[in-house]
């Protein structure tokens, strides 16, 4: 079985973001960028399935500017076999990504697609289920465990009330949650090896899909700031403040 994983280059989760002065968006120039953490988990899961002999090949896909190819190299250093890079200048949103991925999947015919449950830039949490709908495949979102047996995937999902397990008929789309695995660090020899792995480049024109954004960003602003309060010396003062000043207990 072939596995397809999707990766996105985003501002590193440790960076304090800056909003552009004109309110048009978030500054991404000269900022540390990394693979979306949920996509690292997706890559790790796919590579583990290959190491267990369940997957025969792992292919990573990304969309973005030239530098996004670095994210594909990182994925290959973690054990992905080959990569597909779709060059995108300007913005592409979840719906456009799902339409384009569908074209790639129609050609690649993977038995499983693993994606992050959300990207930590837009926090939209929608590309996986939109893609699954377009493919007519079942979906296992927010996965904390994936077991493949025959033509089925058993996926344990993190839900608001606890955990739930569903059985999906393959091919299927799985989106990762934090507890699925702990992604490995790429070793130096593997980073070197990744440089020689095949990276195919495609354009949106070749894929012949409409990726015009349907969500127009009118403005981006900082959130209201929450002012820090005071430090209190002891528990008695705290109780007094909560009762008489904040009046919450």
């Amino acid at each position: 079985m072939k596995i397809l994983v999707t990766v996105k280059r985003v501002i590193d989760y440790n960076v304090k973001i800056r909003i552009k002065a004109d309110g048009s968006g978030v500054e991404t120039q000269n900022v540390k960028m990394s693979m979306n953490p949920f996509d690292e988990i997706a890559v790790e899961e796919a590579v583990r399935l290959k190491e267990k002999g369940i997957a025969s090949e792992v292919v990573a896909v990304t969309f973005g500017p030239t530098q996004a190819q670095e994210t594909l190299r990182t994925a290959m250093a973690m054990g992905v076999d080959r990569a597909i890079y779709i060059a995108v200048e300007g913005e592409i949103q979840s719906l456009g990504v799902a339409r384009a991925l569908k074209k790639i999947i129609d050609k690649e015919q993977p038995g499983l697609v693993i994606m992050g449950k959300q990207a930590i830039d837009n926090d939209s949490s929608q590309t996986g289920p939109i893609l699954a709908a377009m493919l007519g495949w079942p979906q296992g979102t927010f996965a904390s465990k994936v077991d493949i047996a025959g033509d089925k995937a058993h996926v344990t999902r993190e839900i608001d009330g606890g955990l739930e397990t569903v059985a999906l008929k393959l091919p299927a789309v799985v989106t990762t949650d934090l507890r699925l695995n702990e992604p490995r660090y790429a070793s130096l020899p593997n980073i070197m090896k990744a440089k020689k792995k095949p990276l195919e480049t495609m354009t949106l024109a070749e894929l012949d899909v409409d990726v015009t954004p349907t969500l127009q960003v009118l403005k981006v602003e900082p959130p209201p700031v929450r002012k820090g309060g005071i430090k209190v010396p002891d528990v008695d003062t705290l109780i007094d403040k909560l009762k008489n000043e904040a009046k919450v207990i």
């Binding site: 719906l95 830039d121 590309t127 927010f142 507890r179 960003v217 904040a246 919450v248």
Partner: protein, 310 residues
């Protein structure tokens, strides 16, 4: 054109998240219909019909909807979708699973996790873990929207008298099956609806300590128990306790964080609380920058003292 809401429920009762979504929908100014899809859920349909401001309840009763499998429920939503301008669901693990799939079936995107409505096509939503707030205009033919519960009041559960109409979808899509669930059982209030939340982080040190230190304080206050990702990853508490960017968003009257450093991903889930108390032995912990009241000290001294003095 009418607005449709996909109700979150457990086949017995509506979830509070649905009432918040109904209140958000009312701001669109159009009549509101509620879809209750489940199995043996007539009581839920009746409950929805009694909510103030509902024009109609659509009741789809089918074994295929019993466990809210996305493949089956999204197909039903997509079948009904062409009659509606807006389709809303709570931005919970229920809504975030089903609604994007329904949108995908209609070749539309979702406006996720909205916190305000500026017009029939313009919505406000947090991005980058709430460190930026975006105002977006949707050009999709049907607006699929998930709603952050803490940003909207709950609709009044009584006073309405809407008609209930039976509807039918294709039932089982034959793609997936429900195997089982391990739901956390608790006598405490539900985390996202609680008036007070007591959360513990890595500093709590173990699941035992959670039981001996954090839970007694929560029970004294009638509070829900939450946690940081680090505490969940370490196995101190189950995953559904996680508060944050990628966990639950809470906005109680009082949020007490003990042994939590205050990473941006955690703040994203609790910054909207009315009053924040931080208990941390590190005076420079970032949590103090958002706390109304902070105590620098060992949580194993401070928390039990608080519990006994309350």
């Amino acid at each position: 054109m009418t607005t449709l809401i996909l109700a979150e429920h457990d086949n017995a009762h509506l979830k509070p998240s649905t009432l918040h979504t109904i209140a958000a929908a009312a701001k669109l100014g159009a009549p509101v219909a509620v879809l209750v899809a489940g199995q043996n859920c007539a009581a839920v349909a009746a409950e929805a019909a009694a909510v103030t401001g509902i024009a109609e309840v659509l009741h789809a009763d089918n074994a295929a909807y019993a466990n809210f499998l996305a493949e089956n429920v999204a197909a039903l939503v997509a079948k009904l979708a062409p009659s509606y301008a807006h389709i809303l669901a709570p931005a919970t693990s229920f809504g975030k699973n089903i609604l994007p799939r329904a949108a995908g079936l209609c070749d539309c995107a979702v406006v996720s996790d909205i916190i305000a409505i500026e017009g029939t096509d313009t919505f406000v939503r947090p991005i980058y873990a709430g460190n930026a707030i975006a105002t977006v205009k949707s050009t999709d033919k049907i607006k699929f929207i998930t709603v952050r519960s803490t940003a909207f009041d709950a609709a009044t559960a009584t006073g309405g008298n809407a008609a209930v109409k039976a509807v039918d979808g294709a039932g089982d899509a034959g793609l997936s099956a429900f195997v089982g669930a391990e739901l956390s059982k608790s006598e405490r209030p539900e985390l996202t609806a609680a008036r007070i939340v007591v959360s513990g982080g890595r500093g709590v040190g173990s699941g035992e300590n959670f039981k001996m230190v954090i839970e007694p304080l929560a029970d004294k206050l009638g509070a829900a128990v939450g946690a940081s990702r680090a505490a969940v990853d370490a196995g101190y508490v189950p995953n559904d306790y996680q508060v944050g960017q990628t966990g639950k968003v809470v906005a109680p009257d009082l949020y007490i964080a003990a042994g939590i450093s205050g990473a941006i991903q955690h703040l994203a889930g609790m910054k909207g609380s009315k009053v924040i108390v931080a208990i941390n032995k590190d005076p420079d912990a970032p949590i103090f920058a958002v706390a109304d009241y902070g105590i620098v000290g060992d949580l194993f001294d401070v928390v039990p003292a608080l519990t006994s003095k309350l």
